[in-house]
């Protein structure tokens, strides 16, 4: 049973606060959800840690696992960005402010922030998987947490400039002295002032220092596959490289067996794994 | 029968030539008739019929164009083969044959669809509510799960 006395399979009721397109091609939409009941909100934020995900539930369509893209300090709401893919995310794209929706979460382990205190962070994201990293950056960047961590380096690649998410914040971060941000797109575009190329190459080019540093990689499988070796080349120890995995999920609480990766369940034991942990698991992704 | 029989009505969008008829079908169908317009009777997959039956329809009516008058040349003839066989097959497992009806509408026919539907409704009332083949609205009972 959850704390609220409901079955862990029953979503909590939420309402859409804002819904807006994130990318210029309208393939990505962000929804911000507010809690219907204060108790749910309290329970959520007590448990929440950046890097966790939630199952958004549209009655009659199903559930979809999405990473939380907001930090707790931002307010009493939860943000998600969904790419239009299957039936649930298509339904999500149809939502407008005021619509009802269900949510289960927070689920998964999230980033081990306690262990990262005092270290430099290298955050590497690609495409729409950047959402949890955005939550992480927001969390760390907040004045109450910023001093706990060292240097912040951000690498964010997208296919085109239009697909870049959270443009407003990212533009602000470029101005910020406090962090080093490298943005990249795959193919050259006019008026593009930042890197052009694939994320692994950009990482090599930026060459963040592995000294007292932790790297977090989140992106499409193909990007992750090539970025992890690049970080190892740069001298990062496997224990200090983290990535967030994804697999098809149904229950989100380690019961349905679907996201099983060796002896681990990605929903329950993950989604955040260090490269050292991953190396010990079968390559069943 | 206390309630009027529920009819799933699949209509080829080309088969009603008269605007008055089409308008009647589009706007004035009684509430016990559920209309699904398809681009051609050839588009009517037997799965649609099954879905209607399992969704609780007491009868399924399909209206299409006369042979050789199909907007897509042969769509209605393909439909004729498949749906007739599907009806026979449902009958093989106990679903009454009379619950599926096919009407061919000539371009010259006016006002015939109202009559056909009324007749079908009458015939279904005689048959009573469908009971062979379980509808989806029934909660799981029986089987190995019990």
């Amino acid at each position: 049973m959850q704390d609220n006395g409901h079955s862990p399979y029953t979503p909590i009721p939420m309402h859409v606060l804002h819904a807006y397109y994130e990318s210029t091609d309208h393939s990505l939409k962000t929804v911000e959800l507010s809690f219907d009941h204060a108790a749910d909100s309290q329970a959520f934020f007590e448990a929440f840690n950046p890097g966790q995900f939630c199952l958004l539930s549209v009655a009659g369509k199903g559930e979809s696992a999405l990473g939380v893209a907001s930090a707790a300090w931002e307010g009493n709401f939860v943000r998600f960005t969904a790419q239009k893919m299957g039936s649930v995310t298509t339904a999500l794209h149809g939502l407008k402010a005021g619509d009802a929706i269900g949510m289960r979460g927070p689920l998964g382990n999230g980033f081990p922030l306690q262990d990262w205190k005092g270290k430099n962070l290298v955050i590497i994201g690609g495409g729409c998987a950047f959402s949890t990293l955005y939550a992480l950056t927001k969390h760390i960047h907040h004045e109450s947490h910023r001093d706990d961590y060292g240097k912040l380096t951000l690498v964010y690649g997208t296919r085109t400039s239009g697909l870049c998410m959270y443009k407003h914040d990212i533009a602000a971060w470029h101005e910020n002295e406090d962090m080093e941000i490298h943005q990249a797109i795959d193919v050259p575009e006019d008026d593009w002032l930042h890197h052009v190329g694939y994320v692994p190459d950009v990482v090599r080019q930026v060459a963040p220092s592995p000294v007292n540093a932790v790297a977090v990689v989140c992106g499409p499988p193909i990007m992750t596959k090539f970025t992890l070796p690049a970080l190892v080349e740069l001298g990062f120890a496997p224990e200090n490289i983290f990535t967030s995995l994804e697999k098809r999920m149904k229950c989100g609480i380690g019961k349905c067996g679907r996201c099983n990766l060796g002896p681990k369940y990605i929903c329950k034991d993950g989604p955040v794994f260090s490269l050292a942990e991953l190396n010990a698991l079968p390559a069943d992704l | 029968m206390s309630q009027k029989p529920k009819i799933a009505f699949f209509q080829c969008q080309w088969c009603l030539y008269s605007p008055a008829d089409q308008n009647w079908v589009d706007t004035q169908l009684p509430s016990n008739i559920h209309l699904t317009k398809t681009p051609c009777t050839g588009r009517i997959n037997p799965l649609y019929v099954l879905n209607a039956v399992q969704g609780g329809a007491d009868g399924v009516m399909i209206s299409g164009c006369m042979p050789e008058q199909c907007h897509f040349k042969t769509g209605n003839m393909a439909a004729r083969r498949q749906l007739e066989e599907f009806n026979d097959f449902l009958n093989h497992i106990g679903y009454e044959k009379e619950r599926v009806r096919f009407v061919w509408l000539d371009l010259q026919d006016r006002g015939i669809i109202q009559k056909q539907l009324a007749q079908f409704e009458q015939d279904l009332e005689v048959l009573g509510p469908a009971k062979n083949l379980i509808t989806r609205t029934k909660i799981a009972e029986g089987g190995l799960n019990a």
């Binding site: 079955s7 862990p8 199903g62 679907r258 329950k268 | 609205t137 190995l144 799960n145």
Partner: protein, 340 residues
């Protein structure tokens, strides 16, 4: 406590439970036996062909059950299910062991499946040991046995005209109150029957280092060889007492979110929305099924996730035999790991 239950007294005993419990026992359904609720004229079927075709896990994890109901205006509520106290009679030790294994997955500190838990708490299991070895079973090979007591409230031993009733819990004792105590001699005889049955079970394959061999040969051709004739159906996993995977789907018309049994042998099981499938062919799926039982369960709870009931062997439409597959796995090369 050791009691004697005369076989002719069994029907009355079963009926006497009916007032307080839902009683399930294997009965004949078409050409096989199946756990069904006790009625006035139920006949216990234990010999056909040795075990029920569907494992009694279905009594704890039904093939289909509602999890969530959709209310009007986009709300959700728990699907209510009335679960009466139950007695499962004549469950075989392998199946009871399987339920115990599944507990480790469904009842956990972080999340517990409320439906599973309720069914477990309200169930008394009366096991019936197997005094005749079954042909396709291999319970002793995987470390269990024909008179394995795990997760039973009562264990019965068939002694011809009577059963030896070993009560293993308070609840079990209460059910069999009033039966005469068994003499030491009778118990001694029963122990011989139990030992004989145990000894008659052949060793189907060696389990030593099996985990390491399967683990280290993750990318071996072995998987290709053993999965070649697999059809990719769900017989093995659906009949398996320890397979617990389920799918959650919305049944729009019933306004319910239900869970259905699912299996890693299906293509759609791991297929992601992007079109990527981590297990694209039957090779990977077979590997997952075997590795889950003989590697991952060991990593998780240090028990083999197979109780040797033999259903998958008997009913595989292409005659794939897990025993033969694992015997073949024993020939794979491996290195002794010094890590642990």
């Amino acid at each position: 406590m050791n009691l004697i239950l005369e076989k002719h007294a069994l029907p009355d005993l079963l009926q006497s439970w009916r007032g307080n419990y839902d009683v399930y026992l294997p009965q004949k359904m078409e050409r096989f036996s199946h756990f069904m609720p006790l009625t006035d004229n139920s006949v216990l079927v234990t010999h056909e062909p040795h075990n029920t075709r569907i494992s009694p896990k279905a009594l704890f994890l039904p093939m289909t059950e509602a999890l969530v109901k959709f209310t009007r205006f986009g709300g959700y509520e728990d699907a209510q299910q009335v679960i009466q106290p139950r007695i499962i009679f004549a469950i075989r030790p392998c199946d009871a062991q399987a339920v115990q294994l599944l507990d480790t997955s469904f009842i956990q500190e972080a999340y517990t499946d409320p439906l599973w838990l309720e069914r477990r708490e309200k169930t008394i299991t009366v096991g019936l040991g197997c005094h005749e070895p079954c042909q396709t079973g291999f319970c002793t090979t995987v470390g269990y046995g024909p008179f394995n007591k795990a997760d039973l409230d009562v264990l019965l031993t068939d002694m011809g005209d009577a059963y030896l009733v070993e009560t293993l819990s308070k609840a079990g004792e209460d059910c069999f109150q009033g039966l005469p105590c068994a003499s030491d001699e009778f118990v001694e005889q029963a122990l011989i029957v139990q030992r004989n049955a145990h000894d008659q079970m052949p060793v189907a394959f060696e389990t030593e280092n099996l985990k390491e061999k399967l683990e280290q040969n993750f990318n071996s051709d072995y998987w290709e060889t053993v999965s070649q004739s697999c059809l990719g159906c769900g017989v093995c996993t659906f009949l398996c007492p320890t397979c617990f995977c389920f799918d959650i789907v919305d049944e729009t018309q019933r306004r319910e979110r239900v869970r259905n049994w699912d299996t890693c042998m299906f293509r759609t099981y791991s297929l992601e929305a992007s079109g990527h499938n981590p297990r694209p062919s039957k090779v990977e799926r077979t590997r997952q099924r075997l590795s889950h039982k003989f590697v991952y369960w060991l990593d998780q709870v240090n028990q083999i996730g197979c109780t040797g009931c033999g259903r998958c062997v008997r009913y595989c439409p292409v005659g794939l035999d897990i025993r033969a597959m694992l015997r073949q796995a024993q020939t794979l090369p491996f290195e002794v790991s010094h890590a642990g």
